[in-house]
Symmetry: C2
Subunit: 292 residues, 2 copies
DNA sequence: TTAGTTCCATAGCTATAGCTTATGAAATAA
DNA sequence: TTATTTCATAAGCTATAGCTATGGAACTAA
């Protein structure tokens, strides 16, 4: 049995005429006769009572019409869903991000995508950068957000946000009175540093800023995972820190933010990364939104 | 799209290989390639990621596989149901009968059919003979049971039970002492007669028996619909009656049954009638049970 | 790296099967 | 009855599924 048999059957049943069904389907009448007969032979039973000139459905015909309608609906549905899945307007998108990235730029992006693609299920996961990469590789994630630098030939990347660094100081700190603060002024300060291996992008940037100012930061606390925690430690008076400007949103008692003095702009770049060979249409849609 | 496309897709998806799918379907590998490509072109999206040597389903492919399985199941189900409907092992049978026919012979027949055809819904209706005929004609009934004689070129009939007449007498009646009772002895008795137009078969039989005995029954009560009612009237002393022997099952206080004397056997025949042009497979099954 | 192997895709050809035209038989309608 | 409608059948044509041969790309194993 093929869907053609069902389509012909329904046309005949609905027109109650082989002739009119043929017209409706834009084929000659004998084509209908032959196809219906084939179906009848396959089923081992007749579908129409043709003894009168006005044909009638047999009980088996009635059943086949009912089930045939269901069948064609299921076929239409299958096509519709597959087309949508192919276009990326239905499906699933697993998004990963480093803890600090749940800041200003990401939520609005996700919200916009979600409202323009209501049939795509967004799955959000907060992971360390290396976990993000391995999950992307395994196909458990479709796209991830982390701080640059990052480089891997298997992945493509796109910068989606670029924010300046600011200095986080305990409120009582002598430098809190100055704004902007020159980086060189922090040369002898104890530093709270982000996780070197966990967040290599951020770590490298902070180190770079200090080295540009002519010193290597003295770590009083290393391997801190969350920007939130860094800020907390600064607030507790543990030391000073260089953090992305979006950290201003986290403002616990005891910490102040100051701009960095000087002409050189130090920025941290939040990037989206995804597998180069990932052909997921949903991902393509998401990337289009990122780029557009 | 045809079911062939879906069958090929599922084979490829299950084997995860065009080559093995081709072997499984007993066709050459290019046939699979072409059909899958056709489906992909119709959907406007690819179903397999063929960049690697081990192919993978695309999101659209996953969807199409899931929906395709559903589709083939629906197709199988449609065929199965239609075949059963054609064989008469599933469906509906509307059975009509005159009130009096719900006696000894019919219930066991219906019970036997029902247990051998559990998927056939039996619909039972108690109607007058002319209503039976018109409902048969309209197709609201498939088969009916009534008392002969009945004759109509549009219908076929089969006698399914044949029972002798008996005389029903009030217990106190003088003839109650005799057994058998000669019909002639009832010549001057008041008769309770079945409905002439409502049950022509039974009425004609009773009249015939009396006329054979040389008299025309004097009706004290005519147009009685149910044999049960006739018996009740006899029990109340209204008159005597000739009723089918199965009426013995209805034995209220005040009535006795006596055989008819004489060599001539007077019998009433219960027959099944159905439309000559009715090709219903369920009916055919039922008739086979009646005949066999 | 290179040679060999294993895939799927493509091209050209064959054969099947669906379609068309022409026509016939049976049931209606006039 | 005759004319008309309707479905079935037959013959020829055409479209298409499928086959064989082959090529290119991706792995695999020296």
């Amino acid at each position: 049995m093929e869907l053609r048999h069902v389509r012909y059957l329904l046309a005949v049943a609905e027109e109650m005429s082989f002739t009119r069904a043929a017209e409706r389907l834009h084929v000659a009448q004998p084509a209908i006769s032959v196809q219906i007969r084939q179906l009848e032979e396959e089923l081992g039973t007749s579908l129409f009572d043709r003894r009168r000139r006005t044909i009638r459905l047999t009980p088996a015909g009635e059943v086949m019409v009912t089930e045939g309608r269901r069948l064609l609906r299921a076929a239409d549905r299958a096509v519709d869903l597959a087309v949508k899945a192919g276009a990326g307007t239905v499906g699933r998108l697993a998004v990963g991000f480093v803890p600090s990235a749940s800041n200003a730029s990401l939520p609005p992006l996700l919200r916009r995508f979600s409202s323009s693609h209501p049939e795509v299920a967004l799955e959000l996961r907060e992971l360390s950068p290396n976990a993000l990469v391995s999950e992307l590789r395994d196909g458990h994630l479709d796209i991830s957000f982390l701080y640059l630098p990052f480089s891997d030939p298997d992945f493509e990347q796109m910068v989606i946000a670029c924010e300046p660094f600011v200095v986080a100081l305990p409120t009582a700190h002598p430098l809190a009175g100055r704004d902007p603060v020159p980086v060189a002024a922090l040369a002898d300060e104890p530093f709270v540093l982000p996780a070197r291996h966990g967040m290599p992008g951020l770590y490298a940037k902070v180190l770079g800023i200090c080295q540009d100012a002519g010193f290597t930061p003295r770590a009083v606390q290393e391997d801190v995972w969350l920007v939130q925690t860094i800020v907390g430690l600064v607030a507790a008076g543990t030391g000073v820190a260089l953090v992305p400007a979006s950290a201003r949103a986290i403002s616990p008692e005891g910490v102040v933010y100051r701009c960095i003095a000087g002409t050189q702009v130090h920025q941290v770049e939040l990037a989206a990364i995804w597998r180069r060979d990932d052909a997921s249409p949903v991902l393509a849609r998401f990337l289009a939104l990122l780029a557009g």
